[in-house]
């Protein structure tokens, strides 16, 4: 009991001492002023040491400009022969169908493969359709049914302007659209 009391007293005493030291330091204006001056001179000498001798040059800035990406997607260059080596064909200038399928911003066809239910359900998605969407759906169905020999099941979304076809027919549908001039 006595030992614990002594330790408590000791602890209190130490705290009081500490607070007094703090107070003394805080209120001793002369010491404070001196330390501030010291700090300021320290900073000046430190800064002077930090500066390194450098050479300023504008000649090589052209190499820096080459590293920046273009802000927009460029127009594709004109080729002598189509399709290009990678199989790309530009859209035709005039089309005669009541519908249109627009290219994406990267100048490709908006035909995608959707894989669902752990890879067992595959769907072909055709986006960016303008005009008579039902005429396009009928044309795709008439094109795919003889090729596949199966009934072509489709979903037509009139508001979001897309068609889904059951099964993976991305290459077939892509070829169909290219032949139509999209």
């Amino acid at each position: 009991m006595a030992a614990s009391m002594i330790s408590v007293i000791c602890r209190c005493g130490r705290n009081i001492l500490r607070s007094q030291i703090k107070r003394n330091k805080f209120w001793d204006e002369r010491a404070l002023h001196e330390s501030a001056v010291l700090r300021a001179t320290d900073e000046i000498t430190h800064k002077e040491e930090e500066y390194v001798d450098i050479e300023v040059s504008t000649e090589e800035f052209k190499y820096v400009e080459k590293l920046f990406p273009s802000k927009t997607v460029p127009e594709p260059p004109k080729h002598e022969l189509y399709p290009t080596p990678s199989g790309w064909v530009p859209p035709a200038a005039h089309i005669s169908t009541p519908y249109a399928v627009n290219r994406t911003k990267n100048h490709n066809l908006p035909v995608y493969l959707e894989v669902r239910v752990g890879g067992t359900r595959k769907l072909t998605l055709i986006r960016k359709i303008d005009g008579d969407i039902w005429a396009l759906e009928a044309d795709i169905r008439n094109f795919l049914e003889p090729i596949t020999g199966k009934k072509c099941l489709t979903q037509v979304h009139e508001v979001s302007r897309f068609i889904r076809v059951r099964g993976n027919y991305v290459t077939e549908v892509g070829k169909f659209l290219v032949d139509k001039g999209f």
Binding site: I54, F61, V64, L67, H79, T84, S86, N106
Partner: protein, 295 residues
Amino acid sequence: MSYIAGITDKALKLIASMPRVALNNLKGLPGSKKTFQRRRGREKGSKHGRGDKGQGARMTLPRLGFEGGQFPFYLRFPKERYYEGHHMKRQYPPLSLLQLQRMIDLGRVNPDEPIDLTTLCNTKLFKCNPEHHHYGVNLTDEGIDIFQAKVNIEVQWTTENVIAAIEKNGGVITSRFYDIQSVMALVDPEKFFQRGIPIPKCKLPPEDAIQYYTDPHFRGYLADPEKVAEARLELAQKYGYEVPDFSKDPLYEMLKQRKDPRQIFFGLAPGWVVNLKDRVILKPKAQEWKEYYHS
């Protein structure tokens, strides 16, 4: 027609007078947000929907993976050695020759200038994220038969048949290693220059990659140039094509461009600081700095 126009005018006026749809007046559909409330009352609230007594009621369920004192599944079977450090392994996201040819066809990549990781990332069609341990590009052989471009390309990983496809067209390929700090600078140079720090000195490849990057068969950047020339001939004989003479090529100046093993950007040396605001480059003059950044 005028009748319809009147209606549209009225509708437009109505919309103009209505408050604008903004973040402060948006609201979810009724019933879309479901909050769980502790059940109350004599009928449903006696156990508050938590069953009768036990761990479920007192929220003292055992931790995940605990099998009631049995030696648990995740500790029972030993680790496979080849998975060791799998989360730290270097990754090389793939880019096929078909994709590269399509980029060139659509004007996204200029084949008249040397192609490196920055050129590919600037197309925004190829993505490399150093935070996922992506150390650069792996050029794969898909579309190897249609590839026709003549390029000077720098890749981080590739195979023999891809090298043959590029050299057959009179192009040049180099396997080049970049450490992760350099990859960070390469994938987005604008962001890197905005940081205002000196261009880093590229580190040499780690121990397990030195063999690949010094191998002339993979056109390693640390391989002996004479041995690389020999390997070019050897590969041409293997695949049955003729190696064109570079010195007579009109694009000779472009095709012979290579980076220094310590350099990461064409035309810019390590140690330089790029000031984007004043459009100037600051080069250190002190001997100590020069010695540090020298290769």
